[in-house]
Symmetry: C2
Subunit: 194 residues, 2 copies
């Protein structure tokens, strides 16, 4: 059971990594050594105490929240908007947006930027996408900034429709084109249950 000190420390590191919420006491029970040994191990490995570990995780989340919350509402940052006419947004491609293998941005992020811009440009915020056609013209990589320009190109008020074209560019080069047929949900018509 009790292998070497090194082995225990390996296991301990793994154990804490997997579940940072474990106390020294629990660890000491798990490894069949005294609490003091665990403490010494943590010192040698410079693993902080429970509370600091938890705090660290919490701070990380807290910072993430600020950046992931707006991301969920509108993907990218809207820098210009004329309701019912046109809008522009920026989206910085980060490592988390690309395929690990080839560093190329995953399509759905470009779509998300374009689609949420199309939603935003509609005066009526209760807008849904009905149809869309997309062209992914050039690969986009981490570190690049995508500029999406949305333009309302047609309207059909009777059918509550509007047509939006979004062109996304990186350094002037067009990387993506999407056309969106949008449905406006004006006041009434909530009776689409389920």
């Amino acid at each position: 059971m009790k292998k070497t000190k090194k082995e225990r420390q390996m296991a301990l590191t793994a154990s804490i990594k997997e579940n940072p919420f474990v106390t020294d006491e629990e660890l000491s029970a798990n490894f069949g050594v005294s609490v003091q040994t665990i403490r010494l191990d943590r010192m040698e490995l410079s693993i902080p105490e429970l509370r600091e570990r938890i705090k660290h995780v919490a701070v990380k989340t807290f910072e993430d929240e600020v950046k992931s919350l707006p991301i969920d509402e509108v993907i990218g940052e809207i820098i210009d908007i004329e309701l019912d006419e046109k809008a522009i947004s920026l989206f910085d491609v980060k490592p988390e947006h690309v395929f690990q293998r080839n560093q190329i941005a995953r399509g759905h992020h470009l779509f998300a930027q374009a689609n949420s811009l199309a939603v935003a440009v509609m005066n009526d915020e209760l807008a849904l996408t009905v149809k869309s056609e997309l062209q992914f013209l050039r690969p986009v990589r981490a570190g690049q900034r995508v500029v999406a320009k949305a333009q309302v190109i047609d309207r059909n008020p009777e059918k509550n429709r509007a047509y939006v074209k979004v062109v996304s560019t990186v350094d002037q080069a067009t990387v993506f084109i999407g056309t969106f047929e949008m449905y406006r949900m004006t006041e009434q018509s909530e009776g689409d249950g389920n």
Copy 2:
């Protein structure tokens, strides 16, 4: 300065919400009351102590990590796959995926599920989306489970293309149809720099 108890408690709630990492001592200094008063306030408002607050945030993040990491690789859970032929994935729509106003799932989540399934079904994992056409047929709401079925409907090996059709349903009803023209990145052709 010292307004009523109610006002202080309001401010206190806001203060903690904004920065959960604040201690009673700091709060007591901010509000010019004793630490005990802060404690009494927390009790009345049933706001837990610092450590519990931090822990709560940390646990939340920790859980998120497990669910957001795979989400970034493949959106939804693949439950069946025949490479180069077809694949099926499930995606449970959660509150974070819908518009707050009308509880309808944002289009890019449905697209992401379909698109990443289309990528996955390609034998070559280095696949990129070139074009696509989407139809959002019925709104999807939080709590519903979307079943996406992808089928490779055509291939063009010379041009390194494949065509994938994805049909997503909720309780047998079709909610989304997408066709994807995919580009296979076989070994060579890495010279598309930037």
